[in-house]
């Protein structure tokens, strides 16, 4: 964990905060997540200019501009792909993807499973409010099937899926869940996630108080993982597929092979390549 090394803290949370005012509704869970991220970065003592925050589109995905890091606010659902390019081109940067349940699991689902599979060293932080906040209240892949909404009156009838189980099956190397109402807990998990090699997936339950006001009561529903994280995918699979979705903590810490191929200096030259074309 982050406390193993003793370092002189050079940065505090506020060094990661920009002057742009969030457009979030007062009381939105995303405020808490943002502050956890800042705490984690400060704890890790990372210079803001060495951190790349990459996102898609959604209330949650607005985070990059609210930070003093390098930010990439791309298109809806594709943050993981952009982050992969960034990390491969600039392996020395710390890359964090900030996303929402719609952005990461719905339109971004393909990049989600393939980023887990590829296992590039970066952290995916999904602020899961089980709803599309930014487009004003439609069901996401994690929304309960009986949640009534305008677009799906009476509910979609579709079972929500378990993102952590999907991430595990797809190949993620670190899997954890936090709750926005516990910023210290989330910060701690994020420190561990960022430090762990490979693709770390952190799902943070982050209430949307506007379209899912009932989520205010999540603070009563969440409960800590009673058992220690496992390194065995099969065991983790068993646990995550029987989980209720409200357990917080670290579930899986893997040592799966990491995609390291990176842009650097090669030992060949263009002239050599061209010479081979002459006949």
């Amino acid at each position: 964990m982050g406390q193993a090394e003793v370092i002189t803290p050079m940065y505090s949370s506020k060094d990661y905060k920009s002057t742009v005012k969030p457009i979030w509704c007062p009381g939105c869970g995303h405020f808490g997540v943002e502050s956890s991220l800042f705490r984690a970065l400060a704890h890790l003592n990372l210079p803001p200019e060495q951190v790349g925050i990459v996102s898609g589109i959604g209330c949650s995905s607005r985070i990059p501009a609210y930070t003093q890091c390098y930010g990439f606010h791309g298109v809806h659902g594709r943050a993981l792909a952009a982050a992969t390019g960034l990390k491969l081109a600039r392996p020395e940067l710390t890359v964090v993807v900030t996303s929402g349940d719609g952005d990461a699991f719905s339109i971004g689902g393909n990049h989600f499973i393939h980023a887990c599979r590829r296992n590039v060293d970066m952290t995916l932080l999904v602020m899961d409010n089980e709803v599309y906040g930014m487009t004003k209240g439609q069901p996401s892949p994690t929304t309960p099937g009986d949640w009534d909404s305008k677009i799906a009156p009476g509910g979609t009838g579709v079972n929500p899926f378990a993102p952590m189980a999907v991430a595990l099956a797809a190949g993620a190397n670190f899997i954890a869940r936090g709750f926005a109402g516990d910023p210290n807990g989330v910060a701690k998990i994020l420190v561990e996630a960022i430090q762990h090699p490979g693709l770390s997936f952190v799902q943070v339950l982050s209430p949307c108080i506007t379209y899912r006001p009932e989520e205010k009561f999540w603070k009563k529903t969440v409960h800590p993982n009673p058992v220690a994280p496992t390194r065995d995918p099969a065991e983790a699979g068993h646990r995550l597929l029987s989980d209720d979705g409200f357990t917080t903590g670290v579930f899986f810490i893997g040592d799966r092979p990491i995609y390291t191929a990176a842009v650097g200096v090669g030992e060949g030259s263009l002239d050599e390549i061209e010479e081979h074309l002459a006949i």
């Binding site: 791309g74 390019g85 081109a89 600039r90 842009v263 050599e272 390549i273």
Partner: protein
């Protein structure tokens, strides 16, 4: 031509290589069916003492290893009464339509003879026939065979024997198709390369060090050639899960400071459209090589067409000015891609480089294309103090870009409309200012002479682009011989439009003939929309897969209707 596996493509390649070694220039294109293996195949080769960029109106010699499914290829192999057809006597009957050309048919016992020769297949004998017929030294043909087939159980001695025996065979019938003599080659600068390889090399010359791609015919051999070479240069090529991922990886890497690119074909380009808009709005350089094939939809993956012009020009939502270039020959794939990287980096804007199946998969013997003059690199922001405005409005529209890692210059690249700093804004003034800026940087840039290839003078002007240009240049040359002064304008820079340059090029033109390979005349309508054309405009606009040949253009020029 022949059934898949008979070795038609190999024969063509070996002939090209042998001729190249002896100093000729040449072009080989291929036509194959949709089968992965076991379909039929046709290699079309044109050789000459000067550089070759297109096929002519007809072929002088047709060699058939067998006639299975030859019907499918008839349209692609126009013959005349002067042509010679050489066929294996075991290969069945030639299609009557071919003989209707009046070409002379000679059958040779290739299969029979090969049976008696160890490790020799009929196509090697055929190569011997062709080499002798064309005047390509047997020694070069033999060497080519050894290099390519040596590993496959054919000894050097047997190869030489086979070529010699083939040569012998060609003395058994009268013929008169020797190549015009060549002056020999300069060993260092005489290259054998495909359009896809050339484009990949152009990207490397331009400094590309990161590529993310998703396989698609006929683009795939480009990243396949590039991957190991990029690795050698310290770069990396990654196969993404889909095209949307590949273009987003490219933007991420480019945001990180690495010149980056992807390759695709029509269906993949369509999938990238949304993210290309992001590249425009967030001003992130990116090069997209689109090797066109028959459309629409999944269309005809193995055949050529110039019909992705519209989507390349207009396929982004909103007002999204960007760069579109078209390569004109196999060798020009190198130059144009190199330029695409330079422009994209300089203008912080995505550049789509259009190639097509014809160019991409054609193999050419050409002079090594000279590298472009080094261009100024991406304008990078220097660490400074005070507020860094990533999207500051500057006189030339280009604002210095900060590279992650640089202290004090952090910013967020944003696809939402933003103010000069980069903060999202929905205000009319910010929107106008940024739209103006993004248009201005493309309009104010000086593209120099590379914008178009212009050839000849005359009141009659052919305007064309891409792989069709070569046929147009050839037709114009023939028209001049026939007494008609013809000028050809072939823009390499398709977008942004260059009204002043085009007006100058069209100065004095009275008649314009637009030539392109699309069903709906996409290029013609684009020209109409943006340029002042002469009053008399004619259009040759045909879909793929058959190429537009010089003769068709010449005929149109001379028989004004």
């Amino acid at each position: 031509m022949g059934s898949g596996g008979a070795g038609a493509i190999t024969t063509g390649s070996l002939l090209l290589e042998a001729a190249g070694r002896a100093g000729w220039y040449g072009l080989l294109t291929r036509s194959v069916g949709p089968q992965i293996r076991g379909g039929e195949a046709l290699a079309m080769v044109r050789l000459a003492p000067t550089p070759v960029t297109s096929h002519g109106d007809h072929f002088h010699v047709l060699l058939a290893l067998d006639w299975n499914n030859a019907n499918r290829f008839i349209d692609e192999v126009p013959l005349t009464a002067d042509s010679l057809i050489i066929a294996d006597s075991e290969g069945g009957d030639p299609p009557p339509a071919l003989l209707a050309s009046g070409a002379r048919l000679v059958t040779l016992p290739l299969t029979d003879m090969a049976e008696d020769m160890e490790g020799v297949r009929p196509n090697v004998l055929a190569l011997g026939v062709l080499a002798e017929l064309l005047g390509v030294p047997a020694e070069e043909a033999t060497q080519a065979v050894i290099r390519t087939l040596g590993g496959k159980g054919l000894s050097a001695a047997h190869a030489a024997d086979a070529i010699a025996s083939g040569g012998q065979l060609s003395t058994t019938f009268p013929h008169s198709h020797p190549l015009a003599p060549t002056e020999g080659r300069n060993g260092d600068t005489h290259w054998l390369i495909t359009g896809n390889e050339a484009a990949a090399l152009g990207a490397l010359r331009g400094g590309v060090r990161f590529a993310a791609v998703y396989p698609i015919t006929p683009a795939t051999d480009l990243p396949e050639w590039m991957a190991p070479r990029l690795k050698k240069l310290g770069g990396h090529l990654i196969q993404a899960e889909d095209e949307i991922a590949s273009i987003n990886m490219v933007l991420g890497a480019s945001f990180g400071g690495a010149p980056s690119m992807t390759t695709t074909s029509g269906p993949g380009l369509a999938l990238m459209a949304e993210t290309l808009g992001l590249a425009v709005a967030a001003e992130v350089p990116a090069v997209i090589i689109n090797v066109m094939r028959g459309g629409p939809s999944t269309g005809i993956p193995t055949k050529s067409e110039q019909s992705d012009l519209n989507i390349a020009l207009y396929g982004l939502h909103g007002d999204a000015p960007h760069i579109v270039l078209g390569a004109q020959s196999v060798a020009d794939c190198l130059t144009t891609t190199h330029w695409a990287v330079q422009l994209s980096e300089a203008l912080q804007c995505p550049a789509i480089m259009l190639s097509d199946q014809f160019l991409g998969q054609a193999k050419t013997l050409c002079e090594r294309p000279e590298p472009l003059v080094d261009a100024p690199p991406r304008r990078v922001a220097e660490a400074g103090n005070g507020r860094y405005d990533r999207y500051a409005v500057t006189p030339d529209g280009i604002s210095p870009m900060s590279i992650p890692g640089t202290p004090d210059l952090q910013y967020t690249a944003d696809g939402l409309e933003h103010n000069a700093h980069g903060t999202p804004s929905s205000g009319a003034a910010d929107h106008s200012a940024q739209l103006d800026k993004r248009r201005a940087k493309l309009e104010l840039f000086d593209y120099g002479d590379l914008w178009a290839e212009i050839d000849g003078e005359g009141e009659t002007v052919i305007i064309t682009w891409g792989s069709t240009s070569a046929a147009a240049f050839e037709a114009a040359a023939q028209a001049r011989l026939a007494g008609l002064a013809v000028k050809v304008i072939a823009p390499r820079l398709l977008s942004p439009v260059q009204p002043a340059k085009m007006a100058q090029a069209l100065n004095g033109a009275e008649r314009a003939l637009i030539v392109e390979q699309s069903h709906s005349a996409q290029f013609y309508h684009y020209l109409r929309a943006h340029y002042a054309l002469p009053d008399a405009v004619e259009v040759i606009s045909k879909p793929g897969p058959l190429p537009i040949r010089p003769g068709a253009i010449l005929h149109h020029l001379l028989n004004r209707n």
